[in-house]
Symmetry: C2
Subunit: 153 residues, 2 copies
DNA sequence: TCATTTGGTTTTTTAATGCAACCATTTCGC
DNA sequence: GCGAAATGGTTGCATTAAAAAACCAAATGA
């Protein structure tokens, strides 16, 4: 059965998942953030099947998350690079990483540090305009009429 | 073919995707953050098939992201609520929302505002300890030996 | 030149998805 | 108290996507 499309759910999260919500896309993007650019390198580092990788890279390029750059002299050597849109998923990837480490204690083989100085980066949090951290309980979802919805704990 | 497990990739992002990386899980969690608690309400608001919803809710409960609370008097009325672990995905969900709105202009029917005051919340970003925003280019991935890896742009 | 790398496509098998029908309690309307 | 509806599922079936491996053509590399 053809996968359900999330476009028309009127939900931006659903819309985002439509582009990067499958099993592999975010891993490809994360790998690209690690510096991987070549088809073969993605394949080896992720252990992804080649046909699936082809499909995912094509879709990411289609959606403007990555670009395919011809780097060979005769048109058969390519690099896949993140676009600005792709790089902008940084917060999502890091938030996922940190969540996993907090709750599953999954020690990644990689650690993320600031380039200048090598210090660890901060936890990704939702903030208000003043920079104060907000939890789910501190926010309200309002509809187009400004009508608030109750929310879960 | 049994879906590839991401546990052993030595990657915390992969590990996170193992728990909430399928098409529906994050949407269920987002819906729970909106206040939905009942099986039937999830089903109606998301338009998800009932068997898939059952499976996802079970897995989320198994993984400690949600709990199933008996709320009826005679044991047939339940509520699914986010646990602390589930609520902690707030940053991930909001980051995805914002990314989608920035790049796809997907106007969600819901808007997220601060409970006290009703002001819009800030963009979710990666920060250093001093609270300065960091992009992919500002960080370095180092392995367990402290050895840095080059990274993509 | 001849093997190897690179970036795929094809084929086959297996698992997941979506849909609809069904079912046992429980609650609601009256 | 009784019938109807809601609630929270389970089952079976048709379709699709994923995984693995084989294959392939062009371009390097030794």
């Amino acid at each position: 059965m053809t996968r359900k499309r999330f476009d028309d759910l009127g939900c931006s999260v659903a819309c985002a998942l439509n582009e990067v919500g499958d099993w592999w896309s975010l891993l490809v993007i994360k790998q690209a953030m690690l510096g991987t650019r070549r088809y073969g390198d993605f394949q080896k580092s992720l252990g992804i099947a080649k046909n699936i990788l082809c499909d995912r890279l094509s879709r990411l390029v289609e959606n403007g998350v990555m670009t395919r750059v011809d780097v060979g002299e005769h048109g058969t050597r390519y690099e896949y690079r993140l676009t600005e849109k792709g790089r902008d998923l940084f917060a999502v990837v890091v938030a996922l990483r940190q969540w996993s480490e907090r709750w599953n204690g999954s020690k990644d083989s990689m650690q993320l540090v600031e380039r200048d100085g090598g210090e660890a980066i901060a936890q990704v949090v939702v903030q208000n305009a003043a920079g104060e951290a907000l939890s789910v309980r501190d926010v309200l979802f309002v509809d187009e009429n400004g009508e608030p919805l109750e929310q879960a704990g």
